[in-house]
């Protein structure tokens, strides 16, 4: 597929005007995400209250795919319970690695399906997934998430 199909209005918009940009000052969880391959580097901070995400923010330096993914992620998970968030993380990962067909199967991804096309751009899958890895790492209190090694979306197959 032409990658321009991926760079849709909504992704370009989130890249230009990322939502929830910055830091949650009184965060309870935080993590740093790094994709050494292309230098994407982001930080996710969040505040958990009553088992749900009360506040979440991100910042860093990254490509449009990563930044838009992070921006839309923060918007999607705000107010959600941790187990719902972890489900979304899994579904997003499955969608971008081609294991979940968003047109067919049941899922909770909503507008996040604009990232479905990234599965046809294997070298960019990591860019889209990095924020989600980082969120997952924050929730499980790992200090640094990486798209390499155990978290490699491709190798982890």
């Amino acid at each position: 597929m032409d990658s321009s199909q991926l760079y849709q209005e909504i992704i370009l918009d989130h890249n230009k005007k990322p939502r929830n940009w910055g830091k949650v000052a009184d965060c309870t969880h935080k993590s740093e995400g790094l994709n050494p391959l292309c230098g994407d580097h982001i930080w996710v901070t969040l505040k958990l209250a009553d088992g749900a995400i009360d506040a979440i923010a991100f910042e860093g330096q990254s490509c449009a795919i990563c930044k838009a993914s992070a921006s839309m992620m923060t918007a999607a998970v705000k107010g959600r319970k941790v187990d719902e968030v972890e489900t979304l993380v899994q579904e997003f990962r499955d969608m971008t690695t081609g294991k979940l067909d968003v047109a067919g199967g049941a899922h909770h991804l909503g507008r996040l399906t604009v990232f479905a096309g990234v599965k046809d751009l294997p070298v960019r899958v990591k860019c889209a997934i990095l924020p989600w890895h980082t969120l997952h790492a924050a929730l499980t209190q790992e200090a640094v998430a990486s798209t390499e090694g155990d978290n490699d979306p491709i190798a982890a197959g």
Binding site: S3, S62, A64
Partner: protein, 418 residues
């Protein structure tokens, strides 16, 4: 020695159409239904038909292990492999064939020197000089050596244009300086370093100097005797040859006193459990079965490049670089990283605030292959405060029309990101 079919007349400007016809991949590959525009030559170049044919001929009619058999094929393969060494020697104008060591790539050649020379002759407190524009291949082996020996890595700074600050380079020399290793041409910035001057300075201080020629030999004639460097290394796959073969040139006297890098077959004269006697140079450094087919094909690539003529190659690439620089600079918001006075046909750029990976992905829609990332030169990126660049790198088979496509595609990316 293999004669390469003459595809282009030996003088006059390049006949681009005929040159391009020598490279099957340029016409066989389509990307998104569009002709391939291959502008990633600094990462790896393409192989012309005569080199492919040489590989095929070797594998179909000449292959056996070398230096080992009395039988016909072993002699044929050995002759071809040693003839390849001679071709490389003439290409670099080294004095003797035994000063040419085949390695698996330039990284391997640098590691060989770090091990064979560095580990043998450097100690605690000694210093190694490199520049800020080195490829990781010319940083990490020295860091590993420093860590092991308690030696110190000293880095010559570069200025905003991407040129080594020569006064600072010279200031780094002191009695503890034991080795210098600098790149001839920067893969990230295109800068052609004044290596002759840098070598003279090292020589003046009595310090051996290695030149990483990975990005140089495909663009300009290199004469190691005129340069008077101690080591010079390059890699086959950037010189229109195959992957898996590289070259280390070293002055015989230095190679002789160096430690072998790897132990094994071929690098010995005799082995008993009590004592092993190492082979003479260059075989001392070629343990195990070497990249025979690759070395032979590399020689064919060198023959091919010589047929085309490095002067003509340089002239055409100068034109490509000039036109590409002008075309990209004319696009508002495009910033060129690396503006040294002397440059090879390597153009790193940044499009507005669009991340280079997005640029690369979108250019690919137009069939254009550029490299995006830190180009294994993260310190260079840090120097300019950017995470990555997009890089177009041209070979002699690229055309001005391809530069136009690149510029048009960059304009489209910029429009898309608004």
């Amino acid at each position: 020695m293999s004669a390469v079919p003459l595809q282009t007349p030996a003088s006059g400007p390049l006949d681009l159409e005929r040159v391009r016809a020598d490279f099957p991949i340029l016409s066989e590959v389509q990307v998104h239904g569009k002709p391939l525009v291959y502008l990633d030559n600094a990462a790896s170049s393409q192989m012309p038909r005569p080199v492919i044919d040489r590989l095929v001929r070797y594998q179909t009619r000449e292959h056996a292990n070398i230096h080992r058999g009395v039988h016909y094929l072993s002699a044929v393969a050995t002759d071809a492999y040693e003839a390849a060494r001679g071709t490389v020697r003439r290409f670099l104008n080294a004095r003797e064939d035994r000063e040419i060591v085949f390695t698996s790539n330039v990284t391997d050649a640098i590691n060989l020197v770090a091990h064979g020379y560095g580990r043998a002759f450097l100690g605690a407190g000694d210093e190694i000089v490199i520049t800020h524009m080195e490829h990781h291949a010319n940083i990490v082996p020295w860091q590993m050596l420093c860590e092991e020996k308690g030696a110190k890595l000293r880095v010559a700074p570069i200025d905003d244009a991407g040129e080594v600050v020569m006064e600072e380079y010279e200031k780094l020399f002191n009695p503890r300086t034991k080795l210098v290793s600098v790149t001839h041409v920067s893969n990230a910035l295109g800068t052609v370093n004044p290596v002759k001057e840098m070598i003279a300075i090292a020589r003046h201080h009595g310090v051996p100097i290695m030149i990483d020629g990975a990005q140089a030999v495909q663009h300009m004639p290199v004469d190691v005797q005129a340069l008077d460097c101690d080591f010079y290394a390059f890699t086959g796959h950037k010189l229109f040859g195959p992957t898996g073969v590289g070259v280390l040139y070293g002055k015989a006297a230095l190679l002789e006193k160096m430690r072998p890098f790897r132990g094994g077959g071929d690098m010995i004269l005799s082995v008993t459990f009590e004592k092993t006697t190492y082979n003479t140079i260059p075989f001392k450094f070629e343990a195990g079965t070497p990249p025979i087919a690759q070395a032979i094909a590399l020689a064919a690539a060198i023959d091919y490049v010589k047929e085309i003529g490095l002067d003509r190659i340089a002239a055409h690439e100068r034109e490509l670089l000039r036109y590409a620089t002008e075309s990209l600079q004319a696009i508002p918001g495009v910033r060129i990283i690396g503006t040294a006075r002397e440059k090879a046909s390597v153009l790193s750029f940044y499009v507005g605030d669009v991340h280079p990976h997005d640029v690369g992905t979108l250019l690919n829609d137009d069939g254009i292959a550029v490299r995006t990332g830190h180009h294994c030169a993260q310190p260079v990126m840090q120097r300019y405060g950017i995470p990555a660049t997009a890089r177009a790198s041209f070979a002699f088979y690229n055309t001005l029309a391809e530069v136009d496509k690149l510029a048009a595609s960059v304009r489209w990316v910029q429009k898309l990101f608004g």
